[in-house]
Amino acid sequence: MNVFRKSRRAVCAALKAGAAAPEAKAKEHAMGGKRRRPNEDFQPILIGAEAVRDEMGAVMKDIDWDGLSDRIADTGLAEKRLRTGAARREPRRVFPLRFLLAGAAAGLLIGVLTTTLFLRRGPSALPGPSAFAASGEFLQRVELEMAKRETIHYLEQSEYVLLDLLEPSAAGAALEPAGASAERARGLLAKKRYFNAHLGDVRMAKARALCDQIEILLLELSQESRSFEAAEADEIRRYVEDKQLLLRIRLMKKELRVSEA
């Protein structure tokens, strides 16, 4: 803008001075005669560009354009045919083959991984007998031991009941089963029913016979509602003594403990 104003002032000054100088000359004067016309700088570029265009035109005259377009069209069509053919073949061959290859690769990978894991851990890693697996013989032994323990406990408890029954002070007196004794008798009967199934083993046959005889007695004693006459009480005591229940109980306990050890 300043340059424009400056040059305009110069033109006006020149006109006032009466000089018939052209505007360009006035501008040149205003710029001190150093500035070139704008086009002057671009001229070589424009000339050079024109020369390139001339060269391009000359080159293009020598080209067989029809031949070029023929080649392009033929190549384009050939490529299209190739693409179409490949696209038609793809669904029938390539995709199933891909799936097959993917499946085979996955199978191979799983196999390799499994083998590697097995070999790394060694044979000890093979699933051994689990904590819940046991042989039949072992289970029978466990069952027998449990039956022995239950029987020993049963016999001990029964012994206490019988000892109460055979107290020397009680001899010749009527038998008044206390609530506690009846309760104990019922508890023992329930226990007998629970481990009765365990007494089926041949090795427990003797113990079972004894337990059955005690059970009969306990059944009588568990009748809380009735009291026994002196005669009946004596009969019960005689039964205990005749059967030598206390002695047999002690012997049986000892025998079971020995075999248990």
Binding site: P44, G48, A51, V52, R53, M56, G57, S69, I72, G76
Partner: protein
């Protein structure tokens, strides 16, 4: 000048029909489309490479790419701009791949071109000027070079360049101005004047 014999752009309805026939594999349609635009593509490629063989290869490559991607052409878009954009991208790829080779093969590197004495009055010879300009254009930044080539060698209007490069008119003008300014600086030693 745009290359002699370069056909004018085809009308949109004609193009649509040609595309349809090309999709069906009609050889005549391939030929018509190629003949209509091959010279414009060649001019662009030649301006980039200044080499006839490279430019011819690029014309072929551009049209083959066009036939492959014809389904992706959005109807209503300026086809010529789209085609030139495809050609331009291929030119850039080709240029980057082969720039070093051409630099080595060039008979007269820019450094060896005659340098005018400062203040020399006589103009540099036109053929030398062409070489100097071409070598200096190669030194421009990618986008400045593209715009200069399209504007001065292919004689496209700024609007057409903006469309082809998918940039604004203002950007085209700005890049063109920068290209000219840089060319003046680059050519200065060979012209015998100071900017």
């Amino acid at each position: 000048m745009i290359p002699e014999g370069a056909a004018a752009g085809l009308a949109p309805e004609v193009l649509a029909e040609l595309f349809e026939r090309i999709r069906q594999g009609d050889r005549e349609a391939y030929l018509l489309l190629t003949r209509a635009y091959q010279k414009k593509v060649f001019a662009l490629a030649y301006a980039f490479f200044r080499n006839k063989e490279d430019a011819l290869d690029l014309v072929q490559e551009t049209f083959l790419r066009l036939f492959q991607k014809i389904d992706s052409y959005q109807e209503g878009r300026n086809f010529e701009a789209w085609l030139l954009q495809v050609a331009r991208n291929l030119c850039i790829d080709h240029y980057r791949k082969n720039h070093l080779r051409r630099e080595l093969e060039c008979a007269t590197p820019v450094e060896e071109l005659p340098v005018a004495a400062a203040g020399a009055e006589e103009a540099i010879h036109a053929s030398d000027l062409k070489d100097v300009l071409s070598r200096c254009v190669e030194r421009l930044a990618d986008r400045q070079r593209q715009i200069f080539i399209m504007r001065h060698y292919n004689q496209l209007k700024n609007e057409e360049i903006a469309q082809a490069l998918d940039i604004s008119l203002g950007t085209v003008k700005s890049l063109h101005f920068k290209a000219i300014r840089n060319l003046r600086v680059l050519m200065e030693p060979y012209m015998g004047y100071r900017t």
